[in-house]
C-alpha cells in the first residue's frame, strides 16, 4: 500500500514537474528569451550549441532555445483553448444526456458518436482548408473533436450520481434538475473532468504539433514545436539536432500531461487502488 502510494505520488510529481516546466518556459518567454526568436541572422546559420546559443541555431540563423521557449506558448495556448472548449461543451452535454429522458440522452450520445467517428486530424485539416489554416482553426477543430470524450465521461459520472440516495432525496424534495446538476452532479464529477482535461491536453499537444508539421497549424513565423520539426525535416541528415530538440520537447510535454492525468486520477479516485 505504501509502495502504491509512493508510485501514485511519483506520477503526480513527475507529471506536475514536466507540465510545470512547460508552463514556466511559456511564462518566461513573455518577459525574456536569450535572443529574438524571429530575428534572422544569415551569418549565424546552422550553428551548433555554443555558449551564445545553447541549442544552436536553425537554417535561418534563429536561436533554437528562444524558439523552444516561445513555442511552449503555442502548445499551451492551443491546449488550453481546445480542451477548454471541449470541456465547456462536452461536460454539460454529458450531464444533460445522463439526467434527461431516455430518447434525449440517446440522441445526444449518438450525435457524440458521430463526431467521435471523425478523426480529429482530418477534421482540423478540413477546417484549415475551408476557413484557412491557422492556430484558431486548429484549436476549434481539436476542441470539437475532443467534445465526445468529455461528454462520455460526464454522462457515465452523472448516471452514477443520479442513482445515489442524496439525489433521490433531492428529487423527492422537488429540487429542479438544474439545481441537482449544479449542486450534486457537477461537484461529484469534477474530478473525472479534471483528469480528462489532463489526458486531452496531451492529445491536443500532439495534434497541434502534427497540424503545424503538416502546415495546418500555427502560421509562420510564430514559433511552434510542430513547425520547428517540420522545418528541420530536410536537414535530418545534416543537423539531426534541429528535429530532436522540438521532438523531445513534444514527447516530454505529452508524457507530463499523461502522468499528471494518471496521478490526478489516483488522487481523485482512491478506489482504483483496488485494481492495481
Amino acid at each position: 500500500m505504501a509502495l502504491a502510494q509512493r508510485s501514485r505520488n511519483a506520477s503526480l510529481l513527475a507529471g506536475g514537474t514536466l507540465v510545470g516546466l512547460v508552463v514556466l518556459a511559456a511564462l518566461v518567454s513573455f518577459g525574456w528569451t536569450p535572443h529574438d526568436p524571429l530575428r534572422v541572422e544569415a551569418t549565424d546559420r546552422l550553428l551548433g550549441p555554443t555558449g551564445r546559443y545553447v541549442f544552436g541555431t536553425d537554417r535561418f540563423g534563429r536561436d533554437v532555445a528562444s524558439q523552444l521557449l516561445v513555442g511552449a506558448r503555442s502548445t499551451l495556448y492551443v491546449g488550453v483553448v481546445a480542451v477548454g472548449l471541449a470541456a465547456l461543451v462536452g461536460t454539460p452535454l454529458g450531464i444533460l444526456a445522463g439526467m434527461s429522458r431516455r430518447w434525449l440522452g440517446e440522441f445526444v450520445m449518438r450525435a457524440n458518436d458521430l463526431v467521435l467517428a471523425f478523426p480529429a486530424l482530418l477534421l482540423a485539416i478540413m477546417f484549415g482548408a475551408v476557413f484557412g489554416a491557422g492556430t484558431l482553426t486548429a484549436m476549434i477543430a481539436i476542441g470539437i473533436a475532443t467534445v465526445p470524450s468529455f461528454a462520455r465521461i460526464a454522462r457515465s459520472g452523472t448516471l452514477q450520481v443520479m442513482s445515489t440516495e442524496y439525489v433521490l432525496a433531492a428529487r423527492a424534495a422537488g429540487r429542479s434538475p438544474a439545481f441537482i446538476a449544479r449542486r450534486h452532479v457537477l461537484p461529484n464529477i469534477a474530478g473525472l473532468v479534471i483528469v480528462q482535461c489532463s489526458v486531452s491536453f496531451a492529445i491536443a499537444v500532439l495534434a497541434e504539433a502534427a497540424l503545424s508539421f503538416l502546415g495546418f497549424g500555427t502560421r509562420p513565423p510564430t514559433p511552434s514545436w510542430g513547425r520547428m520539426l517540420q522545418e528541420s525535416q530536410e536537414l535530418l541528415a545534416v543537423e539531426p539536432r534541429l528535429a530532436l530538440i522540438p521532438g523531445i520537447a513534444i514527447a516530454l510535454a505529452v508524457l507530463g500531461f499523461n502522468l499528471l492525468g494518471d496521478g490526478l486520477r489516483d488522487r481523485f479516485d482512491p478506489r482504483l487502488e483496488a485494481y492495481r
Binding site: 506520477s11 513565423p221 517540420q230 528535429a243 505529452v254 499523461n258
Partner: protein, 498 residues
C-alpha cells in the same frame, strides 16, 4: 492508466522519429534500359491546352509532343520538326520546311496540314492564357506536304521563340479527341500508363523519326514531399531527382560518390510581388523602401542555402538582354526608413499572401524579419497552391505582397499588362515592349534592357533570386540538361554512362 502514459510517450517519440522515415524505402529493380526520374509536382492530366501549370509540359514537351523548333540549354532556337525556315524581309512571313519522315504515335504522318491545324487550334480551342502568344498569327498556308507558311499580322521577334514552348506543340488532326488522357505526339516517347499520385510510364516510340532514345522506358515518379523524394534516390527507387527542392539536403548527395549533382539555371524568377494598384504599395517610394530593406544575398543564403542567383530584374542570364541589376537597391534599412517617413508610411501593416511552397515559406520568414526592422508589420498567410493562390492572389488581386516563382520563359512581358496581378501600369514599359517585339531584331535586346531597367527603377516587384536547377542523379546517368530554360524536362539526350 500507467500503460496509457507509456503508450503516449512511445507515440510522442514516434512523432519525432516519423520525420526520419518520410520516404518510401521500396527498391525498384530496374534493368539498364529503364530510367526513373523523380518530380515533386504531378500533372493534373495530359492536356496543356486547357490546363495551366508547369507539370504537364515538363513531362510531355519534346518527350511526347514536339514543336517546329526547340530551345537548347543556352536558350538558342534549334530545328526540330522544321528542318529549316526562312523569314521574309518584312518579318511577317515564315516558310518552314518540315521533316518528311515524322509520324505521330497514332500512325498518322506529320504534314504541313498538321501545322495549320495545330496553330489554328491554339487560337480557337485552347483555353489557357498562354494561347495569346498565337494572337499575332494572321493565317497558316499549306504550300505542300512538307512546306508550311505562317503569316503574322505584324513583325514579332518573340513569336518563333514562343513556338518552342507548349503553344508551338504539334498535334495530329486525328489525335485530339481525348487530350487529357491520350496524348498523341511525334516525340521519342509515348504515354503508356499512368498511376495517379504515383507515376507515368513513357516507353519509346517505335516509329520515332529521329535518333532512338538511349533508355527504352522512362518512368516519371511523382513524390510531393522533398525529403521523401531525396530518400527515393538514396534508396535506389529512382535514378534522378529532376529538381531538388530541399536545398540544405544537397551536400548529402555531393558527398556521396554514387551520385552526381548538377547545378544550372532556370527561367524561374522568385518574385516578391507588390500590389502596385493598391495603397500603400501604389507609392513608388514605399516599394523602393521595401526593396532596399531586404538583403537579398542574406535571403538567398538563409532561405535557399545560397543556391540560386541574384538578378535584380525579371530577366534570367540565359536571355540575350540579361543585365545584372542586382545592385540597384543595396541593402540599406536606414535609408528605407527615411524613405518610408518621407512617404508618411512609418507604421504599415502588410499582408504577405504566399504560395504554400518551400521557397516561398522560407523567403517569407526572412522578409518578415527584415521588414520588422524598418517598422513594417508583416502577416504571413500561406495559401494552398495552386488553387487558392491562383484564385485569391492571381485572379482577385486580394493581397499586398506575395511570393511565387514565375517559371515561364521571357515573362518580363507581363509588366506590359496592367491587368496582370501585380497591377503595374507604366505606358512607357508597354510601349517599349511593343517596340522590342515588332521593331528590328537588332534593337530587340537593347529595348528589352530598357524595359528591365525601367521596371527596376519603378521597383515594380522585388526579384529575390533566380531559382537554381539542382539535379541529383546516379553517376551512371549522363546527358541531363543543366539549365531548365524551356518548359520541358528534356529526356532526349539522357543516356547511360559508358
Amino acid at each position: 492508466m500507467r500503460r496509457k502514459a507509456r503508450c503516449a510517450a512511445v507515440l510522442a517519440l514516434l512523432a519525432v522519429l516519423s520525420s526520419c522515415s518520410a520516404g518510401s524505402t521500396a527498391t525498384v529493380s530496374q534493368d539498364e534500359s529503364t530510367l526513373s526520374v523523380g518530380f515533386t509536382a504531378e500533372p493534373e492530366n495530359f492536356d496543356f491546352t486547357s490546363t495551366d501549370g508547369a507539370a504537364i509540359p515538363q513531362a510531355l514537351l519534346y518527350n511526347v509532343y514536339e514543336s517546329l523548333v526547340k530551345v537548347d540549354a543556352r536558350g538558342r532556337i534549334k530545328p526540330l520538326l522544321a528542318k529549316s525556315w526562312t523569314v521574309s524581309r518584312d518579318r511577317t512571313v515564315y516558310d518552314f520546311q518540315l521533316r518528311p519522315d515524322a509520324t505521330f504515335s497514332n500512325g498518322a504522318k506529320f504534314t504541313a496540314r498538321d501545322v495549320k491545324f495545330s496553330i489554328e487550334r491554339a487560337k480557337t480551342d485552347w483555353t489557357i492564357s498562354l494561347k495569346s502568344k498565337m494572337d499575332v498569327v494572321d493565317r497558316v498556308e499549306v504550300l505542300g506536304p512538307t512546306h508550311a507558311r505562317v503569316v503574322l499580322s505584324r513583325p514579332s521577334n518573340s513569336w518563333l521563340f514562343d513556338m518552342a514552348s507548349r503553344v508551338g506543340a504539334m498535334f495530329s488532326r486525328t489525335g485530339v479527341a481525348d487530350l487529357a488522357n491520350k496524348p498523341v505526339g511525334t516525340g521519342p516517347y509515348v504515354v503508356a500508363d499512368r498511376r495517379r499520385g504515383d507515376s507515368i510510364v513513357l516507353p519509346e516510340n517505335p516509329n520515332y523519326w529521329g535518333r532512338k532514345p538511349a533508355y527504352r522506358t522512362v518512368v516519371l515518379k511523382y513524390i510531393a514531399d522533398p525529403t521523401a523524394l531525396n530518400n527515393a534516390l538514396l534508396s535506389n527507387e529512382i535514378d534522378v531527382i529532376s529538381q531538388i527542392t530541399a536545398p540544405d539536403s544537397v551536400p548529402q548527395f555531393e558527398a556521396d560518390n554514387r551520385f552526381r549533382v548538377i547545378q544550372g539555371t532556370t527561367s524561374g524568377e522568385v518574385v516578391l510581388a507588390y500590389n502596385n494598384a493598391k495603397p500603400p504599395l501604389d507609392d513608388v517610394r514605399v516599394r523602393r523602401a521595401l526593396t532596399m530593406a531586404i538583403d537579398r544575398k542574406a535571403l538567398l543564403d538563409t532561405a535557399w542555402a545560397g543556391r540560386g542567383e541574384l538578378i535584380g530584374s525579371m530577366v534570367p542570364p540565359t536571355d540575350p538582354w540579361f543585365e545584372d541589376l542586382s545592385g540597384a537597391y543595396p541593402h540599406d534599412p536606414a535609408r528605407a526608413k527615411r524613405l518610408l517617413a518621407s512617404a508618411g508610411k512609418q507604421n504599415m501593416s502588410l499582408r504577405l499572401r504566399i504560395a504554400n511552397l518551400p521557397y516561398a515559406m522560407s523567403a517569407a520568414q526572412v522578409i518578415e524579419s527584415e521588414l520588422s526592422e524598418i517598422g513594417v508589420r508583416v502577416t504571413i498567410e500561406p495559401l494552398d497552391f495552386p488553387a487558392v493562390w491562383l484564385k485569391e492572389v492571381f485572379t482577385d488581386h486580394d493581397y499586398d505582397m506575395s511570393i511565387v516563382q514565375h517559371v515561364e520563359a521571357r515573362d518580363i512581358v507581363t509588366f506590359g499588362d496592367p491587368d496582370f496581378y501585380w497591377g503595374y501600369h507604366n505606358p512607357r514599359v508597354a510601349r517599349l515592349l511593343e517596340q522590342a517585339d515588332s521593331g528590328p531584331p537588332s534593337r530587340q535586346a537593347g529595348t528589352m534592357r530598357r524595359v528591365a531597367r525601367q521596371i527596376t527603377a519603378d521597383a515594380a516587384a522585388n526579384w529575390l533570386f533566380l531559382f537554381p536547377n539542382v539535379i541529383a542523379a546516379k553517376t551512371k546517368v549522363t546527358g541531363l540538361v543543366p539549365n531548365q530554360v524551356s518548359e520541358s524536362f528534356d529526356l532526349t539526350g539522357v543516356k547511360p554512362a559508358r
